[in-house]
């Protein structure tokens, strides 16, 4: 079956612009996570959805970052007023249901803010 998909694969934007990154999880997975990975580092947790609700958004760095999952499947990570420091690979992961289930990662969106 299909894995986690993310679009776009690359996004280049200018400082101050708004961007949306999309994640399509594995069918039937109720848990969805967003992470951010900077060069040479491990992924850093941003937000976790269980179904439609954001169960834990403690990793969002500030109020410029927001994510939604309105129908409990596809999720969109939204970044307002982008800054150069937001440049990173944004990874989405999904898991079946429980916190101990394996998280399967998508290919990521490489965001570059000029």
């Amino acid at each position: 079956g299909a894995g986690v998909s993310q679009t776009p694969s690359n996004k280049v934007t200018e400082k101050g612009k708004y961007v949306e990154l999309r994640c399509d999880p594995i069918s039937g997975h109720t848990a969805l996570y967003w992470y951010r990975q900077s060069l040479g580092q491990g992924p850093e947790f941003l937000i976790y959805f269980q179904g439609t609700g954001a169960a834990d958004d403690s990793g969002l760095p500030n109020d410029r970052f927001f994510a939604v999952r309105p129908e409990g499947s596809v999720s969109t990570l939204k970044i307002q007023r982008t800054e150069r420091g937001d440049s990173a690979v944004y990874l989405c992961a999904s898991s079946f249901a429980f916190r101990t289930d394996t998280q399967y990662f998508g290919p990521g969106t490489r965001l570059t803010v000029l």
């Binding site: 996570y33 040479g40 992924p43 937000i47 976790y48 916190r99 399967y104």
Partner: protein, 113 residues
């Protein structure tokens, strides 16, 4: 706050040798994962370890978990070039911290023919 430390961060080794990567974490956890990442690619799940004493093996890789010592190891037996990659351990906080995983910095492994 959960902290995860991996060592070594860089490892260059020869084929057919054995080596171990260590992952220490700072607070109680109910789940620990090992992932592999190839350059420019996403993360591939290798092992899930959920209980003290858990041991999982797949091919030349074996992972174990000691929750009392807050330590997991990833052992490579008779390394081959195909295992060259970056390996991450990722830990889940069971003490009321974030629901997402906390990752180590990764171990960049190069296996020379």
């Amino acid at each position: 706050e959960l902290k995860v430390e991996q060592n070594p961060l860089f490892l260059s080794m020869q084929e057919e040798k054995n080596y171990t990567i260590y992952c220490n974490y700072s607070t109680t956890s109910d789940r620990l994962y090992w992932y592999r990442q190839d350059p420019g690619k996403s993360l591939e799940s290798l092992f899930v370890l959920l209980s003290n004493g858990a041991v999982k093996q797949e091919g030349r890789l074996m992972a174990s978990l000691d929750t009392k010592a807050r330590l997991s190891t990833l052992h490579i037996t008779a390394a081959v070039h195909d295992l060259s990659a970056t390996y991450f351990c990722a830990v889940g906080d069971s003490g009321g911290g974030a629901d997402g995983l906390t990752f180590g910095k990764g171990t960049h492994l190069i296996i020379q023919p």
